[in-house]
């Protein structure tokens, strides 16, 4: 099962790194969102440290939605999805393959966005980087798991680009809140243990939604 998942993910990554279209577009989008936030706020009204966690996560959220939109579009080109569904590959493997590839794409976008965020908002990211990376990883797994499922659900609809955020954003709100709170604790210089409750919630969200998405995925792709 994991063997097939890895092969599907590797294929997606190869195609993306060869074309670089989606990654470049989302990276540019991330830079632009950060620039808008940077110039579109009054730094004397609210302290940057208070706003920074929200800005970071809003940026990551929109970038992730854009990235997830392309996950299954790739398979509609030349109807490759039919070939995948016909192959003796468990539907769960197909889901896990897509999840792995999406996690890689979103992680790359986050890795591009984080240094820019630190630069634009003068937030000391480096001292809390390991802990922050953990928070980002926990939150990312959860919303990418749900996003991969919804991407499969919406890809054959007429307004997939619009429908995906409409479906996905409500499910992203809980991990987003917990991630913002955990990130705020880190930026305030408080120990990671103070954010333990939020991290446990993020972990639970990941377990529940990866499992649910894995189980529901076959129903979204079978006609």
């Amino acid at each position: 099962m994991l063997r097939h998942a890895w092969r599907i993910a590797r294929k997606d990554l190869l195609i993306e790194f060869r074309s670089r279209t989606a990654i470049l577009a989302v990276a540019v989008f991330t830079v632009l969102v950060l620039l808008v936030f940077n110039f579109g706020r009054d730094p004397t009204a609210v302290a940057t440290r208070d706003l920074a966690p929200s800005i970071l996560w809003v940026t990551f959220t929109f970038a992730a939605v854009l990235t997830l939109n392309r996950a299954f579009h790739l398979e509609l080109e030349n109807q490759a999805l039919e070939g995948l569904l016909l192959a003796p590959v468990a539907r769960g493997s197909l889901y896990l393959g897509k999840l792995l590839a999406n996690l890689a794409f979103v992680t790359i976008v986050e890795a591009i966005g984080l240094p820019l965020f630190a630069l634009f908002f003068n937030v000391p990211v480096l001292p809390v980087l390991p802990s922050l990376a953990g928070v980002i990883a926990l939150a990312t797994v959860g919303f990418v798991a749900v996003g991969t499922l919804f991407s499969a659900m919406t890809v054959r609809t007429r307004f997939a680009e619009l429908l995906l955020p409409v479906l996905l954003l409500p499910f992203m709100i809980p991990p987003l809140i917990w991630a913002v709170l955990a990130t705020a604790a880190l930026f305030a210089g408080r120990p990671l243990s103070e954010a333990g409750g939020w991290l446990r919630l993020l972990g639970a969200y990941d377990i529940v939604f990866v499992t649910l998405a894995y189980l529901l995925f076959p129903a979204t792709v079978d006609e």
Binding site: R7, K11, S19, N78, E82, G83, A87, D222, E223
Partner: protein, 220 residues
């Protein structure tokens, strides 16, 4: 062996399949002719397992692993090379792609070219190679000659004849009576989701089959 029993399927008010039944033993090739919207593609998709029928059942010995499928679209990734595509599809069946099929279809010189850079005819040849990459026992072919030039079509006909001689079961869907008749052991005409004619070809040529088709389907 391939067995379809009482297949029924509708898309809203449109009956795409209406009580379609047939059985093919090893080595048999069924050519299915019919006008647009007769239900031919739906029939193949149901037999392949891509659509769950609303009634009846289709059974392919060996299951999904045994099926080789050529659809309307080539099911290839434009950003991958010919060889990368074949390697990927073969890997899903846990086999390695063979150079022999590339050479047979005249693709060996195009092995490292991106699919997006190929002509329509070459893409169709790669789609054929993809469908055969795991040496399937059952071939489901939907207008497989589309885009092929005369030489390539002739080579593909020979390949299909060899496949049938080695016991492969084939369902060939086409508009073109001449193209399909040559390869067929059995012939079916579809109209409105039904088989209005199903019989062994029994040595009849394209002319006779064409006349029968016009009588059964077009009412001529």
């Amino acid at each position: 062996m391939l067995r379809a029993e009482g297949l029924r399927h509708a898309f809203g008010p449109v009956r795409a399949l209406d009580d379609v039944s047939f059985t093919l033993q090893d080595g048999q090739t069924l050519a299915v002719f019919g006008p647009n919207g007769a239900g031919k593609t739906t029939l193949l998709k149901v037999v392949a397992g891509l659509i769950r029928p609303q009634g009846g059942r289709a059974r392919v010995d060996g299951g999904r692993r045994a099926v080789g499928w050529i659809g309307h679209q080539p099911q290839l990734y434009a950003q991958l090379t010919v060889w990368e595509n074949l390697r990927f599809w073969a890997s899903l069946y846990d086999v390695a792609p063979s150079d022999a099929i590339l050479a047979r279809l005249g693709l060996d010189v195009h092995r490292d070219r991106l699919v997006r850079a190929l002509s329509r005819g070459l893409v169709q040849r790669v789609a054929i190679a993809r469908a055969l990459v795991h040496d399937p026992r059952v071939l489901l072919l939907d207008e497989p000659f589309t885009g092929l030039d005369r030489m390539a079509a002739e080579e593909f006909r020979k390949l299909l004849a060899e496949q049938a001689a080695s016991g492969r079961v084939t369902v060939l869907v086409t508009h073109n009576v001449e193209e399909g008749t040559e390869l067929a052991t059995d012939v079916a005409f579809m109209r409105g989701g039904r088989f209005v004619y199903l019989a062994p070809r029994a040595g009849r040529g394209a002319g006779e089959i064409g006349d029968a088709y016009r009588r059964a389907v077009a009412g001529g």
